[in-house]
């Protein structure tokens, strides 16, 4: 029985975090709950949530449940110091992750006979290495492409003949577009399936990708705090909702305003509890991703419940070309640059297939009073763009604007104009 296994694992993880993570001891005590209160899976409801802010407050290693000597890998979200979140993995965590990613590939119909073109970024981002280890676990041949260098990617897609590709859905469209521009018939490549994630996309994009690349496009879900890619995955047979690996993660949907747990089928914020992770276990982690659970049986025969595609966020996080960006991070970078005033607006759009980020910044009084030269302003623009790229890993177009052309807002969300139609 899955539930019996979940309960056993849940009890273990709640005991473990209470005794090894100072944060959990404190918040459990404050909420007057003890690990012994877990008698059934339903008792999890009584435990407090963990938020992204809690992870930031415990930056970098405060949430780790094992000594560093047991940690074999670190990954981190983008961000300036103190704003990113760092996650750790034991050897067994890496094995679990590889296993779950391998399950994802199997769900996509792949075997050891396949060649997987992995264009997720390698590095601190979990996408690249997560997919890589899963592909090796499956025994497939993995091409560790990472992101960028699109012309070379197209050459390798032609010459190495991969049968599957992993990347963000927008990058898949970009590859198709560039390939076409290079005179390559992208539909005649050996690719037959794509595993796409790390950013929101739609059924319309799925149809477009399937059409231009001549493949089946599948959705994958994950986030570094919970593990990385491979938390949930669509199956080739159903292609409707992602099966959640419930033997490793418990999922709830909540009302983001009240925290109340919602019945399956209702849209709400996804909350995950990791029940097997050793180095970085989380209890009731609020993802801020909005989705709904699907409990009806799937035609593929898997009994694991599914989650629908992520429909939005309950906070102001932006996902730009697969990179998570908070307006507050951009504000911190702007404020650190001399002469830049904290009046800015972010305009996110999609040019063709790729996300664009424009940062409109008002010209500071002092900066302009001291120099009326174009080169001074251009240097400032370059500095802002460089710092954004260095700290957050996204390219931005910086546009200087006259003072007071940007509306003054109270809330941060209004500093963002997301014009993308996904």
């Amino acid at each position: 029985m899955l539930e019996a296994l979940q309960l056993k694992r849940l009890k273990q993880v709640v005991q473990r975090v209470y005794h090894t993570v100072g944060f959990y001891r404190r918040v459990f005590d404050e909420a007057s709950v003890t690990p012994d209160d877990i008698k059934t899976l339903d008792d999890l409801k009584r435990f407090p949530f963990t938020s992204k802010q809690d992870l930031r407050d415990n930056y970098p290693f405060g949430m780790f449940a094992v000594p560093m000597s047991s940690v074999v890998r670190l990954h981190a979200s983008s961000g300036t110091t103190g704003r990113s979140t760092v996650v750790g993995y034991t050897k067994r965590d890496i094995d679990t992750w590889s296993e779950l990613m391998a399950r994802c590939f199997v769900a996509a119909g792949l075997t050891k006979n396949d060649i997987i073109h992995n264009a997720y970024g390698y590095g601190l981002f979990t996408g690249g290495l997560g997919a890589h280890y899963g592909a090796e676990k499956l025994g497939a041949s993995v091409i560790p492409m990472s992101g960028g260098n699109t012309k070379r990617q197209i050459m390798i897609l032609q010459d190495f003949g991969p049968t599957a590709i992993c990347c963000t859905p927008s990058y898949a469209l970009n590859l198709a577009e560039q390939g076409k521009a290079m005179g390559v018939d992208m539909r005649s490549l050996k690719l037959r399936v794509g595993i796409f994630g790390a950013e929101p996309w739609s059924e319309k994009m799925r149809q477009e990708i399937e059409n231009v690349l001549g493949i089946k496009a599948l959705n994958i879900f994950g986030l570094s705090e919970i593990m990385g890619p491979g938390v949930a995955m669509e199956c080739l047979e159903g292609r409707h909702g992602m099966h959640i690996f419930e033997d490793h993660f418990l999922v709830e949907t909540i009302n983001p305003e009240t925290g109340e747990v919602l019945p399956p089928g209702e849209e709400g914020e996804l909350v995950f509890t990791t029940i097997t992770k050793e180095a970085f276990p989380l209890v009731r982690y609020r993802t801020r991703d909005l989705s709904r659970l699907i409990t009806e049986p799937c035609r593929c025969g898997r009994t694991l419940h599914r989650m629908d595609r992520v429909m939005g966020r309950s906070d102001d996080m932006l996902i730009i070309r697969g990179v998570n960006v908070f307006p507050s991070q951009i504000e911190a970078i702007l404020l650190a640059i001399k002469g830049v005033e904290p009046h800015y607006q972010l305009i996110v759009d999609r040019a063709g297939t790729l996300d664009t980020l424009e940062i409109q910044v008002e010209v500071g009084e002092q900066v302009f009073a001291n120099a009326d030269e174009v080169k001074v302003l251009q240097n400032m623009e370059r500095q802002i763009a460089k710092d954004i790229k260095d700290y957050l890993g996204v390219s931005a177009k910086v546009k200087l604007v006259e003072p007071k052309t940007l509306q003054r807002f109270e809330g941060k969300a209004s500093r963002v104009q997301d014009k993308r139609r996904i």
């Binding site: 010209v363 500071g364 009084e365 302009f368 009073a369 001291n370 120099a371 009326d372 030269e373 174009v374 302003l377 251009q378 546009k399 200087l400 604007v401 006259e402 003072p403 007071k404 052309t405």
Partner: protein
């Protein structure tokens, strides 16, 4: 011997320049000369006006970023090689021209050029030592 110039930051948008000229008209300012340095997204409008203080104040009141910069006005003989004669005396002195533009009125037989030097005092000394006429601000502000 320096001339005070007013610069403002202007976005490239329809009506931007018109807004400036309207503000100056309403304040009774006479623009003696102007030039616009532009990039794809914005420009810097540089002007010599009859009343620097009032211009600076009214533009700031209307939310513009304003800069007051010292530039140098030099008489340029209106004949082939006139401008070259000025640049030639500066070449090798280490003084750099950041930008330059022409003044609309003549000074007697001569044209007038406005220079922004990275070292204006040094430039003025060199120009005067070489017998060139540097015009005082008052002569340009007055119409």
């Amino acid at each position: 011997m320096k001339v005070e110039q007013i610069s403002i930051f202007l976005e490239n948008r329809p009506g931007g320049l018109e807004q400036v000229t309207r503000i100056l008209k309403d304040a009774g300012i006479n623009i003696r000369t102007l030039t616009l340095a532009d990039t794809s997204d914005y420009g810097i409008l540089r002007m010599i006006v009859n009343d620097v203080d009032t211009t600076s104040r009214v533009l700031k009141e209307n939310g513009f970023r304003v800069s007051r910069t010292n530039v140098v006005a030099v008489e340029v003989p209106d004949r082939p090689g006139g401008l070259h004669g000025i640049l030639a005396v500066l070449a090798g002195s280490g003084v750099n021209v950041e930008y330059m533009y022409a003044f609309v009125e003549r000074s007697g037989e001569n044209a007038v050029m406005i220079f922004r030097f990275d070292a204006p005092d040094k430039a003025i000394t060199i120009l005067q030592q070489n017998g060139l006429t540097v015009l005082p601000g008052e002569k340009l502000y007055a119409s």
